[in-house]
């Protein structure tokens, strides 16, 4: 089948504004959008800029807007699109460096701000720090994040104010806050209780829909809001 891709273009060395280029190519229903981008770059326009690494939904580097909604290019098949006209644009709310490539640094700054690492000052036991299956289950969902930024850049609160820490950082805080072995939950909760923390979330739900790992992002944010309101993690 023939597919037409209308792609957002911006070259910082030549353009002052964005524009769109249209490419038409043959595709199989089982081709991924990433395959189409690769083919355009290989055969039609070598200057097209986009990120990719694993091509298997693991590294999180190819989050883009496909027909108006955030997705990983390597996880969307042509047959899933239900149309042969495809509009490809960069994710919103981060500076566009070139074509589909955005500056991820502000996103990672927010990630770093929530202490996304294990904190336990007790002397390590001889073997591993034990945890029951139920305790592990408590934060299982939020361990799956691949930091693709699809959630944060789908959030209108983040579009309006880039200081909002964003769903992804909150998901990664949740992963440690509810880990029974961690000791820095109170500090993380304090960070998220700030002006640009969890209360910027207005349960718009775009993040959960955008997450390629099917993480219940809004629920994780809601659990942190509730922990803050109750003053306990139970």
């Amino acid at each position: 089948m023939q597919v037409t891709l209308k792609i957002f273009r911006y070259n910082p060395e030549e353009d002052r504004k964005k524009h769109y280029d249209t490419f038409t190519l043959e595709a199989e229903p089982t081709d991924r959008v990433l395959d189409l981008l690769e083919r355009i770059k290989g055969n039609q326009d070598g200057t097209l800029g986009f990120r990719r690494a694993c091509a298997h939904g693991v590294c999180g580097s190819d989050a883009i807007r496909i027909n108006g909604v955030n997705r990983l290019a390597c996880k969307v098949l042509v047959q899933d699109l239900k149309t042969r006209q495809v509009v490809i644009e960069p994710i919103l709310g981060l500076p566009v460096e070139k074509d589909l490539i955005v500056d991820m640094e502000p996103f990672f700054d927010h990630y770093r701000s929530v202490m996304p690492y294990f904190v336990n000052d007790d002397p390590p036991p001889a073997k591993e720090r034990l945890q029951s299956p139920e305790e592990r289950e408590r934060f299982d969902d939020t361990t799956k994040c691949i930091l693709c930024a699809a959630c944060t850049t789908s959030c209108p609160s983040f579009w309006v104010n880039g200081k909002y820490v964003g769903p992804s950082a909150i998901v990664n805080a949740h992963r440690f806050i509810f880990d029974s072995r961690d000791q820095a939950a109170a500090e993380r909760l304090e960070i998220l209780n700030e002006q640009f923390g969890v209360y910027r979330c207005h349960t718009i739900f775009n993040c959960t829909d955008a997450c390629p790992r099917d993480i219940q992002v809004t629920q994780a944010i809601g659990e942190i809001k509730k922990a803050l309101a109750k003053g306990s993690l139970d």
Binding site: G162, I204, F205, N206, K225, K226
Partner: protein, 128 residues
Amino acid sequence: MALSRKVGLLAGAKYKGGGPMLAWALHRISGLGIILFVTLHVIASFLTQQMGSDLGISINIFYESIYFQLFIVFCAIFHGVNGFRIIVLDIWPRLIRYQKESTWLEWFVILPLYLLTAFIMIRRFLAG
């Protein structure tokens, strides 16, 4: 130089967030509608009672018109029901995974409630 991170209203509105994003947008719009109504009411009362001004009467006629009343009733019903839905989800975050379903459910409450109210209002209006 990189393009600014700014997201324009149009670019944001074009994001296909679906029902829950629409509910969020309508919650803001209906909230502004209610504020507009209350503000007009206060201004009109002040102008009429304190200053005996005709402008107050004109504002009164505007917000008591059937069109504005139909709009404001929608705002009040939507804002109330959607606000209740959000409170429920805030209290029980585990229900947030059913957010899409909850948005559908709220329309099943809002539409009959609104249509019935609008029907009664329009019938009275037509009857004079």
